[in-house]
């Protein structure tokens, strides 16, 4: 019986990590929970391991007894029995996921540690601990980093998350550079490391060692496995250091695109390692294979992406399964590519990047939020699991430590990377407008982290063909540990030391958008005048093609004709509206409506004043008003609190911090407006809503006591007259109505179309106009997740 042997208490280990000051009560509860999970995880399998026969026997006994029917020995009915095997697999998976998630929570309780050590390192350490515990308990360590599990389940979410939110513009602008690094750089690394390793192994003919068994091709294979920069590791480390966009996209893009090279090299060398020689023909075929793998992967992804976009066009009636299409199509793209041995990663990236602009134009706001949160959640969990599993797999082995091999590998990897980056940059800089400086080169070289992909590829190797597989694995693990720990930990202080440009605040202003579009047109024009078919020319052509044919096909309804600037502007207004609503405003207004809703009625100061009102403000009984105000305030506050609790993969910047400037502008407008309203009380119309209608809620929305104190603004502030209900529309939009109507389905009928509202002069269709306004509000207000995520604002092909 194994469970009599005590396992070292995990709680003692955890206590070692605790700071000297005791954590507050809830955090202690969390730690206790983690301890319990540990214990449960270790005890239960042990319990099951020691008593399976008993239960199994009992079951079979019972069955036999029942079938026989005659020699009945009546046993007491089992009230409670332990049947672990029944649920073993899903249970263990859930336990691992739970452990991973609790770890993530736990790290942020120890702020000092998470500041110095990147999360990936901590997770590997946890994995080592867990592996050690399992081993100490005498159990067989499960082969957690099984290659199939890794490539089919753990890797896709991370890559999809990366691909879906890939910033297209910097990626495309630097595509040449990225490809150079990915293709040429990886090839260089592979051959350099493999070749020199072989050479090193062959020296010392005097004392024959195990290394002399190593032939050239296995060395090259090893080189190709170890040379690929790993996207998971890069993401994990670079996310925390917030370097500027250019460097991020260079290293990250490289890690994604080198998959094609790795796949080809791996298969090529693996095939021929048995044979022992590679001919020129094979090399030639290898090059062709590379093109097929890369382009094929991208094509497969693009096809699935277009299918997904097309499907999303018709989902206006079944909004709830919209996110599913995105996920399933992407996963199928990955699997299809893997089926043909094409590059699954590139296909996934292509699928996500292609489908995104069209899908986002078609789906509802809620679905958009769902997709984003799910992707972030899955990729986060996946990443955590991968690092933990790396730790566990390290403990398990199988290991074959060879000092020479391992140290030479590590050194060669570093050297190869540095030489590769410097050499390539020299060539690349001849073609770049904005050159890469030495600092940039250093970061690119230093950021070449290896990770779990290398390990999994090594794991896949057949022991018969590669007798030195264990040695390879040990070396791979050492390199991974070295890059993740040493490089991962030191990159942050180095970035500070070298004063590398950091990521800039992402808020894109409408000005920037207007001017960049203007400049795009300008440059295209100048190129045409020069007669030069350059970068801008082709981009312009692609945009035109996109607008003319593709958008019509893939985007439902009216939104296919919406110009980019308008879409951007809508989005911005919507965000502001949400922020304003959630912060509770701060100004008392009879009808404080975010400008998004009544966008078409916004008149700048200089235009003629609003039309005369039809009805005066209705009066609510005071008590009722207070009640409604309280309800609203509490709802909004709860939303606010929910929003504040995200941290790492955070999609939302606190609206207080981020939108403060905008909010202040809005509030100034509101104050001005209020003043004007006081003067001209025949200004705004309020419809004949029932007395306890939320019409007044809207008004009192802003009555949050923590209103900002505004300095009195001079009259020169351009004010916005918010004319809520122009005479033509019989019913203005009610906030609470929207919340109520969230349950109803009728808003789904029209889909969420953002029709460009017909002008004042044109024939008005009040119902439709209302519908579209309501839908706009619906889209923005019915879910609590506005995001200041810059990626959202990236227009497709800007």
């Amino acid at each position: 019986c194994h469970y009599s042997r005590p396992s070292p208490s995990p709680s003692t280990l955890l206590l070692l990590l605790l700071p000297s000051t005791k954590p507050p009560l809830p955090e202690r509860g969390l730690l206790l929970l983690m301890v319990l999970v540990f214990l449960e995880g270790s005890v239960l399998p042990l319990g099951a391991a020691s008593s399976p026969d008993v239960t199994h026997q009992a079951n079979s006994d019972n069955h036999i007894v029942k079938e026989a029917g005659h020699n009945f020995t009546k046993k007491p009915f089992p009230v409670l029995s332990l049947d672990y095997h029944h649920i073993q697999a899903p249970f263990e998976i859930s336990l691992w996921v739970l452990l991973a998630s609790l770890m993530k929570l736990g790290f942020h309780l120890i702020p000092r540690l998470s500041g110095i050590v990147p999360e990936s390192c901590l997770l590997i350490v946890v994995g080592l601990l867990v592996g050690g515990l399992i081993k100490l308990a005498g159990e067989q360590v499960p082969p957690v980093l099984d290659s199939r599990l890794f490539f089919l389940c753990l890797l896709p979410p991370i890559i999809l998350d990366a691909g879906y939110f890939l910033p297209i513009r910097p990626f495309m602008e630097n595509l040449g550079t990225i490809l150079m690094f990915a293709v040429v750089g990886t090839l260089w690394n592979a051959f350099f490391v493999g070749g020199l390793l072989y050479a090193v192994c062959q020296i010392q003919p005097g004392n024959p060692s195990i290394l002399h068994q190593l032939e050239l091709l296995p060395c090259l294979l090893f080189g190709s496995i170890i040379s690929a920069v790993d996207p998971v590791a890069v993401l994990a480390v670079f996310e925390e250091i917030h370097i500027n966009e250019l460097l991020h996209i260079l290293v990250f893009g490289e890690s994604l695109l080198n998959d094609a090279v790795t796949v080809v090299l791996y298969h090529l060398f693996e095939e021929y390692a048995g044979v022992g020689s590679v001919t020129v023909m094979d090399v030639f075929l290898g090059i062709i294979s590379f093109l097929v793998v890369a382009v094929g992967g991208v094509l497969v992804g693009a096809i699935y992406g277009i299918l997904a976009a097309f499907t999303s066009r018709f989902t206006s009636h079944t909004r709830v399964i919209e996110p599913l299409f995105v996920f399933v199509y992407s996963y199928m793209a990955y699997l299809s590519a893997e089926m043909f041995h094409l590059s699954g990663i590139m296909s996934l990236i292509a699928c996500g990047a292609v489908m995104r602009p069209y899908v986002e134009a078609n789906i509802s706001h809620k679905s958009h939020t769902t997709i984003k949160y799910f992707l972030k959640m899955w990729s986060s969990v996946s990443e955590t699991l991968i690092f933990i599993f790396l730790g566990v797999a390290t403990v398990e082995g199988p290991h074959n430590w060879n000092w020479t091999f391992v140290t030479v590998t590590v050194i060669l990897c570093l050297v190869a990377r540095v030489i590769g980056v410097v050499g390539l940059t020299y060539v690349i800089n001849k073609f770049r407008i904005v050159k890469l400086t030495t600092k940039d080169q250093f970061i690119v070289a230093y950021g070449g982290l290896r990770g779990a992909i290398a390990f999994s590829l090594g794991f896949l190797l057949n022991k018969d063909h590669f007798p030195l597989r264990d040695m390879f694995l040990t070396a791979i693990i050492t390199v991974i540990f070295f890059t993740v720990f040493v490089q991962g930990m030191t990159i942050k202080p180095l970035v500070e030391l070298l004063a590398v440009k950091k990521k800039q605040e992402a808020k894109r202003s409408i000005n920037e958008e207007i001017h960049t579009q203007f400049l795009d047109h300008l440059l295209t024009g100048i190129e045409d005048i020069c007669g030069h078919y350059g970068h801008h020319h082709w981009k312009d052509k692609l945009n035109r093609f996109n607008k003319k044919y593709v958008k019509k096909c893939l985007i439902a309804g009216e939104r296919s004709k919406e110009p980019q600037l308008i879409a951007f502007y809508h989005k911005m207004e919507m965000k502001q509206a949400i922020e304003l609503v959630e912060s509770g405003g701060g100004v008392k207004l009879p009808s404080a409506m975010p400008s998004a809703v009544s966008m078409q009625n916004i008149q700048p100061k200089k235009l003629p004043p609003a039309k005369p009102a039809e009805r005066a403000l209705s009066n609510l009984p005071k008590g009722r008003e207070e009640e409604i105000r309280k309800i609203l305030r509490s709802n909004l506050q709860r939303t606010r609190q929910r929003l504040r609790s995200y941290n790492r993969h955070t999609l939302l910047a606190d609206p207080y911090e981020d939108g403060l400037g905008d909010l202040l502008i809005k509030k100034q407008k509101m104050i001005e407006l209020e003043r004007k309203i006081k003067d001209m009380n025949n200004y705004l119309t309020v419809p004949a809503a029932p007395p306890d209608s939320p019409t007044m809620c809207r008004a009192r929305l802003a009555s949050d006591p923590q209103a900002y104190s505004m300095k009195p603004e001079p009259d020169s502030v351009p004010t916005i007259q918010v004319d809520l209900a122009s005479p033509q529309s019989p019913d203005s939009v009610n906030l609470m109505d929207e919340f109520r109507r969230a349950e109803q389905q009728h808003e789904e009928d029209q889909g969420l179309m953002m029709k460009p509202p017909s002008g004042e002069s044109g024939p008005k269709k009040p119902g439709e106009e209302d519908g579209s306004r309501e839908h706009k509000l619906m889209r923005c207000l019915s879910d609590p997740g506005p995001s200041a995520d810059e990626d959202e604002d990236e227009p497709f092909l800007p």
């Binding site: 409408i510 207007i514 203007f518 024009g525 100048i526 007669g531 035109r544 600037l565 078409q600 700048p604």
Partner: protein
């Protein structure tokens, strides 16, 4: 395309132009060829409009400009205010704005800012907005640009609100117009050197 003008010396003031703008001889030659292609009447100048019909004349040869929303503004940017013709030197000077910036260029203080510096590039773009050259982009001018870019797809109201918002965001000194500094500030996140450079003009 070996024509009789295969030597850069045939082009008047070529050396000065090269000095001033930083273009190489090959570029000057190429631009000259282009200039001659546009100059249908071989008068050594490009004309803005064809007097009788008021259609854009020489620049009309560039068909893609007709599709460009701000094509007219671009064409008129080549002509100094009030002028109706542009000669080769001015043509080259305007295009010099779009050369990629030489970061390591050293110049003495007395020399004027080179045409392809960031500031000059921005100034060029600014002047395309600011048609009346009063140093500020007024709301009307911004609206004009927006109208050109967005065309018939949006309503007047939407244009107004966008323009309103844009001015509100950028206008720091609250004079209801965007000055050059404010313009520059709103574009500080954009890499102008990259954005406003045409690679082949290096």
């Amino acid at each position: 395309m070996g024509s009789s003008n295969s030597s850069v010396n045939n082009i008047p003031n070529a050396q000065e132009l090269m000095q001033e703008t930083g273009f190489s001889a090959a570029h000057i030659l190429r631009l000259h060829e282009r200039f001659e292609f546009l100059d249908k009447h071989k008068c050594g100048q490009l004309r803005l409009v064809d007097r009788p019909t008021n259609q854009p004349q020489d620049f009309g040869a560039v068909q893609e400009l007709a599709l460009n929303p701000i094509g007219d503004s671009i064409i008129s940017a080549f002509f100094s205010p009030g002028q109706e013709t542009v000669d080769f030197a001015s043509f080259v000077r305007i295009l010099a704005h779009f050369r990629p910036t030489d970061r390591n260029q050293s110049r003495d203080g007395a020399q004027q800012e080179p045409a392809n510096s960031s500031i000059r590039k921005l100034k060029f773009a600014f002047q395309m907005y600011d048609q009346d050259r009063d140093g500020k982009i007024s709301r009307a001018e911004l609206l004009q640009v927006l109208r050109a870019m967005l065309g018939i797809q949006v309503t007047e109201e939407q244009l107004q609100s966008i323009a309103e918002r844009a001015i509100q965001e950028a206008d720091l000194d609250r004079d209801d117009a965007i000055s050059f500094d404010e313009f520059r500030k709103s574009l500080e996140k954009v890499d102008i050197d990259h954005k406003m450079s045409i690679r082949f003009l290096r």
